[in-house]
Amino acid sequence: MREWARVLEALLFAATEPLEPRRLALLLREGPEGGQGFPEVKEAEVREELAKLAEALPARGLILREVAGGFRIGTAPELAGWVAKLKGVVRPPRLSPPALETMAVIAYRQPISRAEIEAVRGVDCSGTLDTLVERGVARITGRSDAPGRPILYGTTPLFLEHFGLKDLEELPNSEELRRVKLPLAADPAGPKQEELIREAGEPAAQG
C-alpha cells in the first residue's frame, strides 16, 4: 500500500462531488497547505489505488463509484434503508415516467430543442423540461440556428451522477439510439395533423 493511499481515501471521503484521478494526482503532488506532498504521484498510480479501494470498500458498507468523470464514495445500495432512516428520507427522489422519457431523448440526442423532443414523445414537454432543469439534470446549452432560434437542451454532470454513469458513452445502447433518425419537428405529417385539429375544432395542444 502506497503511503499516500490514506490521503486518497480521506479526500474521497470528504468530497461532495466526484473527483477526477487527474485532480487527485495533482492534490497529492501539491501536498497540504504549507506541507510536503508526494511529488512523484502519477495519475496511473492513483487509478491503481482507486481500483484497490473499490475492492476494499464494500466490506465496510461503502462503495466507490466512477461517475461523471470522477470517483465518489457512497454508501452501499443494499444499506439504503438504514441510511434513509438516518437522513429522514422517505423515498429517494426519482423522476416520473414522462420526465424519464424526456430525459432519455435529451441524453441521446443532445443538443435538442423542445419541439424536437415533442416530435419524438408526441406530447407537450414544457413541464417535464422545467422539472429536469430545476432538478439540475438538464440544462440549456444554447440556441439553435434553426428558424426561431429555439433553445437547446443537454445533460449536466449531475445527470451522470444521478444515473450512475461514467460518461455519456456509457448510456445503454448509445450507438443504436444516437443513429435513430428523429422525426423532424416540421416534417410533412406535422401540418396535416394540425389541419385535422383545426377541422375538428380542437385547439392545438402544442405550441
Partner: protein, 273 residues
C-alpha cells in the same frame, strides 16, 4: 406500466390515462395488448380500441390531454384513407407513400426512447440507493459571523424594508428606469463607505427610487461582503445594521475563485464529520 397503479380485476380495461405518458405510449400498449406486429398494424382495430379507451376516460370524467385527441384525429384520418380507392385520393397524395408509415416510424422511434427511459429508470432506482456526502449547509461567510455580526437573514430582512420604501416612492410617479450594473454599484458603495466610517444600511439606498437600482445595489453589497471588502454589524437583533469597511489586516482570507465555488457564489465552510 406504472408501479403502484392498481387495476381492478373485474375491469381489466380500466387503466387510467395518467398511466400513459402520451398517445404514443397508449398506442404501443394497445398494439401489444392486441398482439399486433408494429410493422403491420391493423388500423381499424387499433382506432377502435383507441377511441374506446378515450370514451372510457370521458365517462370517468378524466381530463383528456389534447395530444390524445390529436392522435384520435390522426387515426381516424388514416383509417378513412384506407377506405378510399386509390384513384379517389387527392392527387398530391397518390405519389406519396402511405402516411400510415409516418405513424409507424414515429411509434418505432418512440418505443426505442421509451425503452431507454426504462433503462435509465432502472439505473436511477439503483443509484438513488447510494448516498454520498452532500455539501454542508451553506454557511454564512465568516466575515458575517460572530457576536454583533449580521446574518444573511437580517440583511435580507433589512433589504425588504428598503425595497418597500422604494416601491412607495415609485408609486408616487417615477418612470425613468436606467440600467444599473453591479460593478458600477460596487464602485458607488466603496465611495459611499469610506474607511473608518460606519454607514447605516438604509442610508446606502436613500437616494434611490427604482426597484432595479436598489436590487442591483444590494447585490453589489453582498458581493463586497463576500469579497471581504465590507462587513455588516448590528448591536442586537432588529436594531439598525451598519456597514463598514473591513480593516486592512482583516482581509486575510483569500478571495475565493468563482469557478471553485459550489455554485451558490457563497464560500461554504466544511465542518469536520
Amino acid at each position: 406500466m406504472n408501479p403502484g397503479l392498481e387495476i381492478p380485476a373485474n375491469e381489466n380495461l380500466r387503466v387510467e390515462l395518467s398511466a400513459f405518458t402520451g398517445p404514443l405510449d397508449l398506442l404501443l400498449h394497445l398494439i401489444k395488448e392486441q398482439e399486433m406486429d408494429i410493422y403491420d398494424i391493423r388500423l381499424e382495430k387499433l382506432t377502435e380500441q383507441y377511441l374506446a379507451r378515450l370514451d372510457k376516460m370521458k365517462e370517468e370524467n378524466l381530463a383528456i390531454a389534447g395530444e390524445f385527441l390529436v392522435m384520435a384525429a390522426t387515426l381516424l384520418y388514416l383509417k378513412s384513407r384506407t377506405l378510399l380507392p386509390v384513384q379517389d385520393r387527392p392527387p398530391e397524395e397518390v405519389e406519396e407513400e402511405d402516411p400510415k408509415w409516418e405513424l409507424i416510424r414515429q411509434l418505432i422511434e418512440y418505443r426505442k426512447f421509451k425503452e431507454a427511459a426504462g433503462q435509465l429508470g432502472d439505473r436511477e432506482a439503483l443509484h438513488s440507493k447510494i448516498f454520498g456526502r452532500t455539501p454542508e449547509r451553506v454557511t454564512v461567510p465568516t466575515g458575517m459571523q460572530g457576536p454583533g455580526q449580521v446574518s444573511m437573514f437580517d440583511l435580507v430582512w433589512a433589504f425588504q424594508k428598503v425595497l418597500r420604501g422604494v416601491e412607495e416612492r415609485a408609486r408616487a410617479g417615477r418612470f425613468a428606469e436606467d440600467e444599473y450594473t453591479v460593478s458600477e454599484k460596487i464602485e458607488f458603495l466603496m465611495d459611499r463607505v469610506p474607511a473608518g466610517q460606519e454607514v447605516p444600511f438604509e442610508d446606502l439606498f436613500r437616494s434611490m427610487s427604482s426597484r432595479g437600482e436598489v436590487v442591483v445595489t444590494f447585490l453589489a453589497l453582498l458581493e463586497l461582503i463576500r469579497l471581504r471588502q465590507l462587513t455588516a454589524r448590528q448591536e442586537k437583533p432588529l436594531q439598525p445594521i451598519f456597514i463598514q469597511r473591513v480593516a486592512e489586516g482583516g482581509a486575510r482570507a483569500p478571495i475565493p475563485d468563482r469557478e471553485e465555488g459550489d455554485g451558490t457564489g457563497q464560500p461554504s465552510v466544511e465542518t469536520p464529520a
